[in-house]
């Protein structure tokens, strides 16, 4: 069994706002092993991106981590000061943001922007060494070496996103977080980028955290996955197992509401209601008001807690017995 690179334990994070505290991440625990691809799936506002930001300690000023720990190779990240964090960011963990292709500085050449990141972490390396490194990265993500001397506006959306992936890999990080890296792209380009990410991940033995709302992409990209709802992980386990036998009612609902181009044309099921507001403290099961499998035997007052039901397969306690 390969060793854990990143482990998150009982992470709690809230945003302090004028209308009250928004509890965006509640008691989230997961770990990512070496060379593994881990998926985080959920609807908008469920806390996926808040988790990603906490991992890099890049959360907004009004965000407070009230408890929990994030360890990268045994080193605690919560509570680190800025100068220590600078070393971890990009060197240890890097991120490909949602719509990151719009994050390029328009007046600086693409290659120079990647060189800047490498220079910051490895000042001893020469310019020629860095250029060589960038060329090899570009080759890996399917870009021509000439792109180094291009300005961002000269590239298409797909090319910019490829270059962003090269940028994320520029300091040989152990963990790469991909936060919806393809949502702004077309299906055909999305497919190419996904293949590229997968290829690079396998080639370099990277640990990848893939965040998406699209369960079809998670199915193709990840080895293990976690489903988030209203700030909590409600089910986590091997991707193939979760798809084959989902246990939590929310996971089932997600799978049943995703249309597909293959297989029989089936009637899809929708989920009534809306996700709860995260401002109010929710006691008991946050999914109970929408749960289609709510039975007389289930107790909505019961606090949510993950229990192990199989090897590495965890599910919220309420769904321990399959419905």
């Amino acid at each position: 069994m390969s060793k854990e690179v990143l482990s998150v334990k009982n992470l709690n994070m809230h945003y302090e706002t004028l209308s009250g505290d928004v509890h965006a991440v509640k008691d989230v625990s997961f770990s990512v092993k070496e060379g593994e691809s881990f998926g985080l799936v959920g609807e908008s506002g469920c806390g996926k991106t808040s988790v990603a930001m906490s991992l890099l300690q890049l959360q907004a000023d009004n965000a407070k981590i009230s408890s929990g720990s994030i360890q990268l190779d045994g080193v605690e990240l919560v509570g680190m000061n800025e100068s220590e964090l600078r070393k971890v960011r990009w060197d240890g963990i890097s991120i490909v943001f949602q719509g990151a292709m719009n994050a390029w500085n328009p007046v600086v050449k693409v290659g120079e922007q990647i060189r800047e990141a490498i220079r910051e972490h490895y000042p001893e390396k020469s310019k020629a060494e860095n250029t060589e490194k960038i060329e090899s990265l570009f080759k890996m993500v399917g870009l021509d070496a000439a792109v180094i001397d291009r300005f961002p506006h000269e590239l298409s959306g797909g090319m910019k996103q490829r270059a962003i992936i090269a940028l994320a890999l520029s300091c040989d990080p152990k963990v790469v977080i991909a936060d919806e890296p393809t949502t702004a792209l077309d299906v055909v380009i999305q497919d190419q980028i996904l293949k590229e990410i997968k290829k690079v991940q396998e080639l370099l033995g990277l640990s990848l955290i893939y965040i998406s709302h699209d369960i079809a992409v998670i199915a193709e990209m990840t080895d293990r996955m976690a489903v988030m709802y209203a700030g909590r992980i409600v089910e986590s386990g091997p991707t193939s197992e979760i798809f084959a036998s989902p246990r939590h009612s929310y996971t089932k609902a997600l799978l049943e509401s995703t249309p597909s181009v293959v297989g029989d044309r089936v009637k899809l099921n929708s989920l009534d209601g809306e996700p709860p507001s995260l401002i109010d403290e929710i006691s008991g099961c946050s999914f109970a008001p929408r749960c289609p499998n709510r039975t007389t035997t289930c107790n909505p007052e019961l606090d949510m807690e993950l229990v192990e039901i199989g090897p590495e397969h965890y599910v919220d306690i309420c769904n321990k017995e399959s419905h």
Binding site: E43, Q190, H213, D214, A219, L268
Partner: protein, 317 residues
């Protein structure tokens, strides 16, 4: 023979773009280039393709939001019970025509006026077309809110769009569209901004309304899986032209055009055990069809009302 609600023949929408402020050179962008289709009553046609391929331009041209630059659009006229070319309509008739053809937009956050209450938003089309007296109109609003599942209506009438969630707003958009009792609705990615669990309920609502009210949709989307759920037929658009059009399952199971094949093979499948095949673009099948049918006809029927475009696409896909 099925009765069509709309027939589009050789529709063109060209834009002139200048090479720059001092340049006299004018280039022409063929955003929509010679497309034809028809939609029978109560059926919906999906228009799929990548961004920038001309889907929305087609929609706007059909709704007369941007005047087309060529081709014919014929619409079923209730009074004469015949197809009527919209070019032949005068202003009064055009206003009437617009009642029958409505549009649902992509972004429910931007397409509703933030300063108006839900009641004002849904009343507006009735006021513009001067339908019924005030009491009739208000009753109609309450009725339509019930139809789209926003009940009790009195809860929603005095509220503003920002007080509603994305799914509820899209229901308001649908209510505003359907209050005119249109026969044909153009939907421009109406669910792409919504979350998965809410998306299906909006799609089901639209399907049910289509059945109950006999509405036909032109459903624009980049997602073939969504189009499969919503549409009887699918037209695949590429570079301003329709390259393939067929009944939904026929198109998915038996795609011929290299672009269609590429599109279908690019869609992630929500099943980790499914092995999605990589499609290498090749033109063999298309070439064989062109050789058999000749390419004097822009679209050829290969059986089962499955049409393939015969124009040259080599090197573009």
């Amino acid at each position: 023979m099925k009765k069509n609600v709309i027939e589009v023949r050789n529709l063109e929408k060209y834009y002139e773009v200048s090479g720059g402020f001092f340049s006299r050179k004018k280039d022409i962008v063929k955003a929509v280039d010679d497309i034809s289709f028809e939609i029978p009553f109560g059926e919906s046609l999906g228009l799929v393709g990548q961004s920038g391929c001309g889907k929305t331009t087609t929609a706007r041209a059909l709704c007369l939001l941007d005047p087309k630059t060529g081709g014919d659009v014929k619409f079923y006229n209730n009074e004469t019970e015949d197809m009527e070319n919209i070019d032949n309509l005068d202003d009064d008739e055009l206003k009437k025509f617009r009642r029958n053809i409505q549009m649902i937009f992509q972004d429910p956050y931007e397409s509703l006026n933030p300063r108006w209450t839900i009641k004002d938003i849904i009343l507006e089309p009735l006021n513009i077309h001067n339908i019924g007296d005030l009491q009739d109109r208000e009753e109609a609003v309450v009725e339509i809110l019930k139809t789209v599942g926003l009940t009790p209506a009195s809860n929603y009438l005095p509220r503003y769009p920002h007080e509603l969630s994305g799914g509820q707003r899209q229901r308001v958009s649908i209510a505003r569209t359907l209050i005119m009792k249109p026969k044909f609705v153009v939907c421009d990615e109406p669910t792409s901004m919504l979350d998965v669990s809410i998306r299906i309920s909006i799609m089901d609502l639209m399907l049910n309304l289509a059945k109950d009210l006999e509405v036909s949709y032109l459903y624009i989307t980049h997602d073939l899986a969504v189009a499969r759920y919503m549409c009887n037929r699918i037209a695949v658009m590429f570079n301003g032209k329709i390259v393939e059009i067929a009944e939904t399952e026929e198109l998915l199971n038996n795609p011929i055009h290299p672009y269609t094949k590429r599109l279908i093979s690019s869609i992630p499948v929500p099943d980790p055990s499914y092995d999605r095949k990589v499609y290498d673009v090749n033109y063999d099948e298309l070439d064989a069809i062109i050789a058999k049918h000749g390419n004097d006809n822009p679209m050829v029927d290969i059986g089962n009302e499955h049409y393939i475009a015969t124009h040259d696409v080599k090197g573009l896909i």
